[in-house]
């Protein structure tokens, strides 16, 4: 078995002492001593109240914390409080902790979790982020239940968002993933998600764990693997997510997410090149929740960065984009700032041409993805300008229209993708 080569002896011993389980909750950590206690409490409470008869294990995979994260995990033993219906778990919830390395890596953390899930023959698994400060027991059950009871293989979270939150996901990642892979899963880039033991075993067999795209954002690759493998995907509403700001270095985030998505497209091209329309997926709870709070960001600077990017990166953009697309972008960059509009059709064409150029490697791929940043800023500015006072419904309507535009232009992507260079 693949996992025999990389799992530490001590970790294997702990896994063997647990035996088989029904549920596995993985908590990847790195210096999370401050918030881990609350996370553990919520996870244990959820297992105790909702899965009384099931065998469960909580697995901590640590990336070499310098604080007392691991000690805290091991020492904070579970209490056996009765649930709201007076029920208490009939079984012991096991706790296992391992250190997979001396530096944090989402990919390595997930690799250890799926290897453990495979060895313990877990039926349903969930990954929970210890940085979420408002995690409640309902989150855990909302991710595990659809897998355990409804037999889904991948369950993405749905978060309640403010209107200026998650704009990259709304304007690019969701519409594109929906159009390409044909499943309407809103959040494939997430920190909490659920998956089946079957999907864990399939993922474990893939030899992609050393790829940087998988190391950085393994959850999206896992979702794409599930879709590509014909497994059942769904999504579950969790509520608003509160986590300490992880920084908004848009270049790094686009490199990790969009770069990862282009990589997933390339490695799964056999599954999406033939597909056409998207299908809705089973959704537990509301499909979306958008609140109107939040302060609009500084728009002037965003437009400045778009305009200077289009001008300074002209030769790079010329090698990525089609001539007419490039000309249109240069034309809108010269337009009046107050009347600026980035048409959805042009945005979709631009993104698809970037994807095709990534496939044909017309440029170093890191550089290519970075060249998208100024154009994303243009699209962002257009969105903020047009939706400064829009209602939640209007924003959702616009989002749906953009998704449909991505689906409508998919044949154009396929055509450019297949062109021999």
């Amino acid at each position: 078995m693949a996992e025999e080569s990389f799992l530490a002896d001590d970790f294997l011993r702990q896994l063997m002492s647990v035996g088989e389980v029904d549920l596995l909750v993985g908590i990847p950590t790195y210096n999370n001593a401050a918030t881990l206690g609350q996370t553990l409490q919520s996870v244990e409470e959820s297992l105790r109240q909702n899965f009384v008869r099931e065998r469960a294990v909580i697995l901590n995979v640590d990336g070499g914390s310098a604080d007392e994260t691991r000690q805290l995990f091991v020492q904070s033993g579970g209490r056996r409080d009765a649930g709201p219906r007076g029920l208490t778990s009939l079984r012991t919830t096991h706790r296992i902790s391992c250190e997979y390395g001396k530096a944090p890596s989402q990919g390595l953390a997930l690799l250890n979790i799926v290897a453990a899930a495979d060895l313990l023959r877990a039926k349903a698994c969930a990954v929970i982020s210890p940085t979420t400060t408002n995690l409640t027991p309902s989150w855990v059950v909302n991710l595990l239940r659809p897998v355990y009871s409804e037999r889904l293989d991948f369950v993405a979270p749905l978060y309640a968002r403010s209107r200026f939150q998650g704009l990259l996901a709304r304007d690019l990642l969701y519409p594109m993933s929906r159009a390409i892979f044909g499943q309407r899963v809103r959040e494939i880039y997430c920190e909490e998600w659920g998956f089946s033991g079957r999907l864990a075993s399939q993922c474990l067999e893939k030899e992609v764990w050393r790829e940087e795209a998988v190391r950085a954002r393994p959850e999206a690759w896992m979702a794409v693997t599930a879709i590509g493998g014909g497994l059942k995907c769904g999504q579950s509403f969790l509520g608003p997510k509160i986590a300490p700001p992880t920084g908004t270095d848009i270049v790094e985030i686009i490199r990790q997410t969009v770069g990862n998505f282009f990589w997933c497209m390339e490695t799964n091209q056999a599954t999406w090149l033939r597909g056409s329309n998207s299908q809705p997926v089973p959704t537990f709870g509301p499909d979306h929740e958008l609140s109107l709070d939040g302060v609009p960001p500084s728009q002037e600077k965003i437009f400045e960065l778009f305009r200077s990017g289009v001008s300074e990166l002209e030769p790079i953009l010329a090698s990525i984009l089609a001539q007419d697309t490039h000309a249109e972008i240069k034309a809108i960059a010269l337009s009046d700032r107050s009347k600026f509009h980035f048409p959805a059709e042009l945005w979709v064409k631009t993104v698809y041409e970037f994807a095709a150029s990534y496939h044909h490697a017309v440029l170093n791929r890191y550089h290519l993805v970075q060249a998208l940043v100024p154009l994303y800023r243009g699209q962002l500015y257009s969105f903020l300008l047009e939706h400064a006072n829009a209602s939640a419904e209007a924003m959702e309507t616009q989002s749906e229209a953009l998704c449909q535009e991505f689906e409508r232009q998919k044949p154009y992507l396929v055509e450019r993708w297949k062109v021999k260079r």
């Binding site: 908004t248 960001p297 600077k301 400045e304 990017g309 300074e312 440029l363 940043v373």
Partner: protein, 233 residues
Amino acid sequence: MKEVIIQGLRQAYSNLVRMFAEFLPRLLVMLVIVIVGLLVAYVLRAILRAVLHVTRLDRLSEEAGASRFLRMAALPSMTELLSRSLFWVTWSGFILIGISVLGVAGLQEQISRLFLLLPAIFIAILILFVGLVTANFLSRAALLAAVNAGYTSPKLLSWSIRFVIWALAVSMALEQVGVARQTVLAAFSIVFGALMFGLAIAFGLGGRELAREFLERNLRDKKKEKYEEPQPL
């Protein structure tokens, strides 16, 4: 008198025949060496082409931006260029060996000099190629980083990086071949020193106010002016 002339002509004729008799086998050997060289060069070119196709060098070259330069210079792809170079270097080597077999005294020395230079020329070409690829890659990385961070004059930064790497590569290549070693070293030092000195003067004297503003903005008031992008995920 007549006999002396006939004797001389006979002597000359026999010398000529002897020379031909000595030269012809050498010429044949040379032709054989050239033909064998041609075959060996063909085989090596085919092997290198196959190996480079397997290692996807063209894709790497495309990603690094070297292919763009080759296209601009109307040159073939990287795989083709290297394969053809190997072909010509190999065949030229065999031709030179063949010529040396002829035993023409003046040529011998020149050929041995050329042979001594060949590895140095090859290494110089390699240095230039690596320099070109590195300069292109790093200057583009700097341009993208500067544009995305919103710095002023990103192209200047990018071209400075490209120029410094090119200058370094060219001076290293020339030194490798041994062309005016001291002159190249001195020229590089002068050009590089002048560039740095010029920048120091331009920024320090010409742009004193600008430099002060720049430093104040970037060091003292960095926290105040930090630009926050909306949460993307």
